[in-house]
């Protein structure tokens, strides 16, 4: 079977699901962030596949912007995690329960 759009989109969907599973499963904020990156990457793959099979390049340009925004997001997110660690001395999600009850 030749590889067409379906295979690429299937890989993209599976990767997104794996990232989602990781976000729900992990307790460490840093690893949750890594799984978020996986989900963003899954979107990138889908966009590039669509753009390739459509023939234009708007999808590729969009991926370029997504990569830029993801880099900025990681920088800010990690700064927030560091600030959180200074205040609470932990990065484990179950211990960050100030809003519970």
């Amino acid at each position: 079977m030749t590889v067409g759009l379906e295979q690429y989109i299937a890989v993209s969907a599976l990767l997104f699901a794996i990232g989602f599973f990781g976000v729900l499963r992990r307790k460490n904020t840093l690893v949750i962030y890594m799984c978020l990156e996986l989900m963003l990457n899954a979107c990138n793959l889908g966009l590039i596949a669509f753009s390739r099979f459509h023939g234009g390049m708007s999808g590729s340009v969009f991926v370029f912007f997504i990569i830029t925004v993801a880099a900025a997001e990681v920088a800010v997110g990690l700064a927030i995690i560091v600030a959180l660690f200074r205040k609470r001395q932990t990065v484990q999600v179950p211990e960050l329960n100030a809003l519970k009850n």
Binding site: T2, V3, G4, L5, E6, Y8, I9, A10, A13, L14, L15, A17, I18, F20, F21, G22, L24, R25, R26, K27, N28, L30, V31, Y33, M34, E37, L38, N41, N44, L45, I48, A49, S51, R52, F53, H54, G55, G56, M57, S60, V61, V63, I67, T68, V69, A70, A71, A72, E73, V74, A75, V76, L78, A79, I80, I81, V82, A83, F85, V91
Partner: protein, 167 residues
């Protein structure tokens, strides 16, 4: 030949992505993240998006993972205790996957979309020249906004990581 490469790189990407979610130590997770990004960049090459493949390696494998490792080192995060995955996590994941599959099938079974590799148009986004042209003509405003976004992110990081004076 391209098909074999596709399956190899797809397996590499998905396998190491699964390892990211399952690895006990955060450092191992970051290492598997690098492998995932490399597999992803290879898939981009197969889709003839060479510029984006290079950007993927530079920005993600180069900058983002190094930043992650730096923060892991700074916070001295140890190995995670063994946690049982809750049932609700499994259910939510599989429901999410099922919805995604419905979406994929819905999209690919549409008649309006060219899905086969035969009679594929020439890749327009392959060259760096095209990219630059598009970014500075059609996508001029988003380009400027992204620049401002990066500036704001930089200022935000500086403000966040400054120690608050308590007096």
């Amino acid at each position: 030949m391209t098909d074999i490469f596709f399956y190899i790189f797809a397996a590499l990407t998905l396998g190491s992505a699964l390892c990211v979610t399952l690895a006990k130590s955060p450092v191992n997770a970051a290492m598997f993240l690098i492998t995932t990004f490399i597999g992803m960049a290879s898939l981009f090459v197969l889709l003839e998006a060479y510029f984006l493949a290079v950007i993927q390696i530079l920005v993600y494998a180069g900058a983002v993972v190094v930043l992650f490792l730096f923060i892991i080192m700074l916070l001295d995060v140890g190995e995670e205790k063994r946690v049982r995955t809750k049932l609700v996590t499994w259910i939510a994941s599989f429901v999410g996957l099922a919805l995604l599959i419905v979406g994929v099938v819905g999209i690919t079974s549409s008649d309006n979309i060219q899905t086969q590799a035969e009679a594929l148009p020439e890749a327009a986004g392959a060259t760096l020249k095209n990219f630059g042209y598009e970014l500075f003509t059609t996508y001029q405003l988003p380009m400027q906004v992204t620049g401002f976004l990066l500036l704001i992110a930089m200022i935000g990081v500086i403000v966040l990581s400054k120690r608050v004076k308590t007096d």
